[in-house]
Amino acid sequence: MTGAPEVTLGNSSAAPVHRAGGYVMKRFALPFVVLVSIVVAACGGSGTPTPSGTAASTEPIKIGLLAATTSGNALLGESYRGGVAFAVKEINAAGGIKGRQIVVKTSDIGGDNTTAVNALNEAVADNPVVLIGHPHSTAQIAQNALIKKTGVPFFYSGSSVKVTQSILDNPWIFRISPNDGVMATAATQYVLDKLKYTKVAILYSNEEFGIAGRDVITEVLAKRGLKPVAQEAHEVLAQDVSAQLLKLKTSGAEIIIGWATPIPTAATLRQLKELQINIPYMGGRSMALAAVLGLSKAEQLDGAYGSVDSVISVDPLAAEWTKKYKADTGKEPDFFTAAYYDLVYMIKDWIGAVGTDPAALRKAILETQNRKGVGSNIYSFKPTGESVFTAQVIKYTGSTPKILETVTVAP
């Protein structure tokens, strides 16, 4: 129901009462008007998203953004929130989606699952057409049931392979970057096949993301009849990994594969140089995040490898966009920024094509294949909800990354 029919219905029902002037009409006129008003109001306030196919609709398109704006997660939040905001700004400036402006309501997921679920409840109460989430495995698990119940498309980036492939099993969840298993597989394969190392040590953060990464690396090694020569864990936001590195130094490792969030990754790169441990390092997706690059000096990055989603800074196809983004925000984008920017444009096209009905949107999403995004990003959605299956292996010379190989891991 829209606002316009509401007025028409109310007037037309009242008009005959005055003309007829009969007792029966007078007696029932007021209750009728009240009843109609209640029905109309109830329809207007229902939880069903307003279909954008209504030609005259100018209501804004609501997007619920479940982002970390506080806590240790806020670090990643800055990257992708920038991508969403930039895309929305551009789309709205160009007239929105068929004349309807996009409105993003951000709910803070904080640093724990309770806050994440509360944020989702808050976002859902606003009847968003789609939801966009934070790349955090355990938060997705906590939010999963409510996402399923809500029944609108929910997008986020990455997550551990175990979470994406077995725990969630939710038709409304879609991922716009490779799961961590893709990158851990690519990292290990590159180490074994291209660098020809067989003595691999693993340094991982002691939570779902790091443990899942460690498991994938171990599985790939096992398929080649190998075992890691050492495994060391650290806290999720560890700032001192010197004890672990000194332990790995004595393990005989030819390379260390690290699986951690940006702060421990930066700490590892710094302390490898400080302790003069000359074992090569291969990191995960953190190796291309603005947070790590902003914290690490050129000499700390020099010689390090990474298995990452993509490297926006050296992608010639992304150069123009990167320039535009930096000019607008004054910040360096990374692959999270680009992926969430791409997502908002995909949402624009899906809604533009089929409206806001969730089932129609889901169909449109799954029909999206080989969709080009910023730079070399390509999205092909599968029934599992995953859309990206490639990782880029990079190596730093000073602070400049070079793409060594793009690895595709079969879905």
């Binding site: 640093g111 001192d240 004890a243 004595t250």
Partner: protein
């Protein structure tokens, strides 16, 4: 000794030990910051960790944003944190003076949350880093690679704590502060301006937190939410020290810093914190008076 010492292992051990000493020095500063306030007014300052983080961010503003030379920035941080300590006392403690322990403790907790969110609002969530106090990252002595900032931390902490010891042991101000800590009413009868002594204690406590934050910022990446972890370790150091004993807190801090890194290196990096807090629990159960004196059960 649970391992065999070869030449490489001795080098590793010394490297680990120096890293542990540096972290231990930071924990000692935080523990002393806790203890000073506890002794003066009988409350546990649950904002201690956040005050350390604030000190680090003030250092970043002075050194990185305003490009003030690093040693002057350290002095500036101490001054600004001292002023903040006075404000902290006026806002978080003074209005609730005389209220039960828990009420004031919650007030400090709330103040800590405000500091965290204020930092996040002002600086965002991206980590910040401070340059080292000396422009030499590492020094190699006999094949052992030592991080110079770790040595600086140890030296600055020793100088700071020796100065505090001198203040309490040799100066009239220190004696009046100690008298106030021991018995407020008697001190008042003796003509000591108790309110002033309490204010000076808050100022000193926050200055110590500022020093800890400034020293930590070059070896840690500052994020607004890192205060809790630091406060827990500082609190544990204060417990081991006998909660109320400055010298005990220093021993507790150094002990935790060294033990946690030795555990991570030679026992288990996964369960380092579990083992550390198991040791703290053991102290509470079996030596509640701390390493030196005073029963914790009567104090906390």
């Amino acid at each position: 000794v649970p391992f065999e010492l070869g030449s490489g292992q001795i080098q590793d051990f010394i490297q680990v030990l120096v890293n542990g000493l540096a972290m231990g020095a930071i924990y000692a500063l935080i523990a002393v910051s806790f203890v000073l306030v506890y002794k003066a007014v009988g409350i546990v300052n649950f904002a201690a960790g956040e005050l350390v983080v604030l000190g680090g961010y003030i250092g970043v503003v002075l050194a990185n944003e305003l490009h003030i030379p690093i040693w002057i920035a350290l002095a500036g941080t101490i001054v600004l944190m001292s002023v903040f300590g006075y404000i902290f006392m006026l806002v978080a403690y003074q209005p609730l003076r005389g209220q039960p322990f828990l009420v004031v403790a919650i007030s400090t907790l709330a103040f800590g949350i405000i500091i965290t969110n204020g930092i996040q609002w002002a600086f965002g969530a991206a980590p910040r880093k401070l340059e080292t106090l000396l422009d030499v990252p590492t020094v190699t002595i006999g094949g052992i690679h030592l991080v110079v900032q770790h040595l600086v931390i140890v030296v600055v902490t020793v100088v700071t704590l020796v100065s505090i010891n001198y203040l309490f042991a040799r100066t009239s101000l220190g004696h009046r502060m100690m008298a106030t800590a021991q018995d407020t009413e008697v001190s008042r009868l003796l003509g000591i301006n108790v309110d002033r002594m309490v204010a000076i204690t808050f100022v000193l406590s926050c200055a110590l937190a500022g020093i800890a934050g400034f020293l930590l910022a070059p070896i840690f990446y500052l994020v607004p939410t890192m205060g809790l972890g630091l406060a827990l370790k500082g609190f544990a150091a204060a417990i081991i020290g006998g909660f109320g004993e400055v010298r005990g807190s220093i021993i507790g801090g150094i002990g935790i810093g060294v033990t946690e890194i030795l555990l991570a290196r030679y026992v288990s990096s996964s369960y380092r914190d579990l083992l550390i807090f198991a040791i703290v629990l053991a102290f509470l159960f079996f030596r509640s008076e701390g390493v030196l004196s005073s029963r914790i059960g009567q104090k906390v």
